[in-house]
Symmetry: C2
Subunit: 129 residues, 2 copies
């Protein structure tokens, strides 16, 4: 897993908007969930593994590393035996938490409408190929 600054796919054509840059950060499957696991403060690795339901160790590490690289998450290694590692949001990460909360609130408030729209759409197009 190179920590290179090599350009990724999303660098090619989505650099004008400024919004896409945020997506590059939070659009991964687990990123947002991991951030939310830290919204109440410091949390340890194993605790996150439990809190973020369904995530694997691999993806948790990968996600948290990326967030650390982006400066949104701080990692604090406590040299005990066995070792423990604490994660928390940086001040920068906290500023991102605000807009994300609004998005979550939108989801809670409107997702049912979305599901109804889907059902309605599928109903109307049920006979199509």
């Amino acid at each position: 897993m190179p920590s290179s600054s090599k350009t990724r796919k999303s660098d090619i054509s989505i650099s004008n908007c400024g919004y896409s840059k945020v997506l590059d950060i939070i659009s991964n499957k687990w990123t947002a969930l991991v951030i939310y696991a830290m919204e109440d403060g410091v949390i340890r690795y194993g605790e996150m593994l439990r809190r973020v339901d369904g995530i694997s160790k691999k993806m948790l590490t990968q996600t948290v590393r990326k967030l650390e690289r982006d400066g949104l998450v701080a990692r604090n290694i406590i040299p005990t035996v066995p070792p423990s590692v604490e994660y928390s949001l940086t001040p920068l990460g906290e500023t991102l938490l605000q807009p994300m909360k609004e998005l979550r609130q939108w989801g809670r408030g409107h997702y049912q409408e979305v599901e109804e729209a889907r059902a309605s759409y599928d109903m109307a197009n049920a006979s199509d190929s």
Copy 2:
């Protein structure tokens, strides 16, 4: 392209949060960009193709169809020769636009910090494998 309501991968373990549901809508590569192309009002297919830099016809259609199914976008077919199709946000879509704008604003305001953090991180870990 089935319009089936078959469960997708993201249904398995990310149904508790309510936030993930929003991600299911906007986390695709192009979805957010397409929504933004409509933020100023009605826009035609070809115009979007130009406005959303780098998107292919296939992905534009696919993205816009999904949004239509989710009830966020309205499609208005004008029976001319050659035909033209207008897209616009539904009232529900407009409500989503608000939180998204805040996210975009965050990106504009903080992305430079993120880039600096990345550079710093890469610098510190340059010698690693």
